[in-house]
Point group: C2
Chain length 403, copies 2
């Protein structure tokens, strides 16, 4: 049996079918028995879904005790009616779980611009909230209930030791815009029983998101609903984390990053429209921000993505995309490697093409997991991005979505 | 007979076959009998082709008398050997035309990273330069010799009056990254017989490029070789344009913009991989820069582009892409119209969906020329971007390019 949210001390959850989606579960509730430190980051899109507006208010106290998520309707571009709907979700959750309204985070995913089915969802909440459970199946219900066009549920669980105490962490996520980008919301909810101050948790979340969820690209756009939220309820009873230079905090931060990378990879992997998972590592750069921008620029280039689909070791496109990252980039200093998880071949050395066996390269690029490594030879910073290829299926799926 | 470069006073040109490309003309030379004011803008890519480096030097004096362009090899990522090759092209052109080396602009387009065939091209220049001619056919030769995978030559000619003098302006261009983006260089060369100070010409060119070439998007990347150059040789004998607030300058500026828009539209139109030409107008915005960013963000969104391919009036993707432009954007204030050149239908009013006849909309979107108009209802500025759709053919063409 796999471990999930229900194996983190004090957390219970549920996933139900309210009817907004015709067949699948479409409502998830995560509940902590005690108030938890809470941190979240939201979409950078200027067009923001109604639940995101509500969350931004409710997260201000740095605490939360429940997360409620509906799937099938994004509650975006829905105006006053939608905003009232998001508030109604919060109210129903708070009442049913007997907690304060400002202890509830709310999230939605699905189609944009349809009227929000408040009544259906609120009824669903009233029926489901009392069912929150720590049975393992409840964790699976929740993980499945936040999906839209994802083809599998994305879950993670890790345990580690902090100050001699065993700490548990679990997360669920839903997919990005690979296949049906109008529903392209990227959501992730992570719970842990570690004890940490809210401000420090926010810092850890911000940094880990920058290294993980912000480095997966599928179509370059962030949706109106994107959200990552983390609750830490302290039930591991470790000495509360307060300082960002402590060894314990460092352990936690790395584990949080590990969880987010795991969920990010699962998101990228889930695409009928994509045929390859590609890891882009930019190493030995002058600054992390530079490496990050270059890795993202390469991974989001349509030309690089179509080349990957075509198994084409087209280093010219990679170098040109790096040059479009908006940061200083000296291609005459770089080494470039292409290959897969197991083997890589150097194709550029100090910016000059290296002769390699083209048939061997074709064989490497036939794998479903591709590795691109750009060595800037100009420092010690590095960053990694993950992406899919751009396929004819991507275009087909996306061109027939609403009509 | 169409008018072209050869109908601008004092300009002669030629287009020849050097052998770098197997069958088509691959070398163009444009020559002004007298020194001309010269202005140019170059790619923003950090990876810059060798001829661009040479041009940046040679344009510093604000004057030029010849432009030499080779097609088939981009002379990018070619290092010292390529830089020497670009210098050799300049030297051969200057010697053959008996002008100073710093009066020559040089440009290349084609494959990246192949050794530069200096000898072949220099020989071609020595044979071709003496042939520069003002016969109309020479203009066509030049327009064709700068092409790579373009399916047609892109030319324009206009005449207008400045201070009672007749002024001529002609331009040629080659395509962008719609089909074979590794050769995605966007080049445009415009000549005119107007008399204008170099500094003022540079200002006019910069502004017109921002409104035109910088607003056509096909894959969002700028190539290593992109370049727009304008020569103005003064043979119209108008009173020299010196002030940016003069009526005459205003006439010239508008005409230059008109020429560049014409060439930009031709570039967008040329794509086997694209099935539609789409105009994105953002009107009544607070500032031009805001409108420009939003128009570009929408036109370069893969999701919008696939929706256009699928004839899908997916306003959610358009609004979401606008929200990703990196500028303040209040969707609850905007009206959105979709349609074609002749008819448009309002789909959003003040951010709220408007009921419309879906069958009629499908009919409108079946056209090859699509119009998207976003009214910000928040000022008087506006900007227009042009783009293609994202098709399965685009992916196919680009995935089988070099291999």
């Amino acid at each position: 049996m796999i471990k999930n949210i229900t194996n983190v001390r004090g957390f219970r959850c549920w996933g139900a079918h309210t009817g907004v989606k015709s067949l699948r579960r479409d409502l998830a509730i995560i509940f902590s028995e005690v108030p938890a430190s809470a941190a979240a980051v939201f979409t950078q899109n200027q067009v923001v879904a109604e639940p995101v507006k509500v969350c931004r208010e409710n997260i201000k106290n740095g605490m939360a005790q429940a997360i409620v998520v509906n799937a099938g309707n994004a509650n975006a571009c829905t105006g006053e009616q939608g905003y009232e709907g998001a508030l109604a979700m919060v109210r129903a959750t708070a009442e049913s779980l007997e907690i304060d309204e400002d202890m509830v985070l709310v999230s939605s995913t699905g189609v944009i611009g349809e009227p929000f089915p408040t009544e259906e969802i609120v009824n669903g909440i009233r029926v489901s909230a009392p069912k929150v459970s720590n049975r393992s199946s409840a964790g699976s219900f929740a993980a499945n209930a936040i999906l839209t066009t994802d083809t599998f549920a994305k879950e993670g669980f890790i345990e580690f030791s902090v100050g001699g105490r065993e700490v548990n962490m679990a997360g669920i996520a839903k997919g990005s815009g690979m296949i049906h980008p109008n529903m392209a919301t990227m959501l992730a909810f992570i719970v842990t029983d570690i004890d940490i101050e809210p401000g420090l948790l926010q810092k850890a979340v911000r940094e880990a998101v920058d290294d993980t969820f912000n480095m997966i690209t599928v179509d370059g756009d962030s949706s109106t609903n994107d959200m990552v939220a983390v609750l830490a309820n302290g039930m591991a009873e470790n000495e509360r984390l307060k300082m960002d230079d402590s060894k314990d905090y460092n352990v936690f931060r790395n584990r949080l990053r590990q969880m987010m990378e795991h969920l990010s990879r699962l998101i990228v992997s889930d695409g009928e429209g994509s045929s390859k998972f590609i890891e882009y590592r930019v190493v030995n750069g002058p600054e992390k921000s530079v490496c990050r921008k270059i890795a993202r620029s390469i991974s989001s280039s349509n030309l690089v993505k179509t080349a990957m689909f075509g198994r084409d070791p087209n280093w010219g496109r990679i170098v040109s995309a790096a040059g479009n990252a908006g940061v200083a980039f000296d291609y005459t200093a770089v080494d470039l490697y292409l290959g897969n998880e197991k083997e890589r071949v150097k194709v550029l050395e100090k910016g000059k093409p290296v002769k390699y066996d083209r048939n061997f390269m074709k064989k490497l690029l036939r794998e479903s997991h591709i590795s691109v490594k750009l060595d800037m030879c100009n420092g010690e910073a590095e960053a990694t991005a993950w992406g899919s290829d751009l396929t004819t299926d991507y275009v087909l799926f996306n061109s027939v979505y609403t009509t």
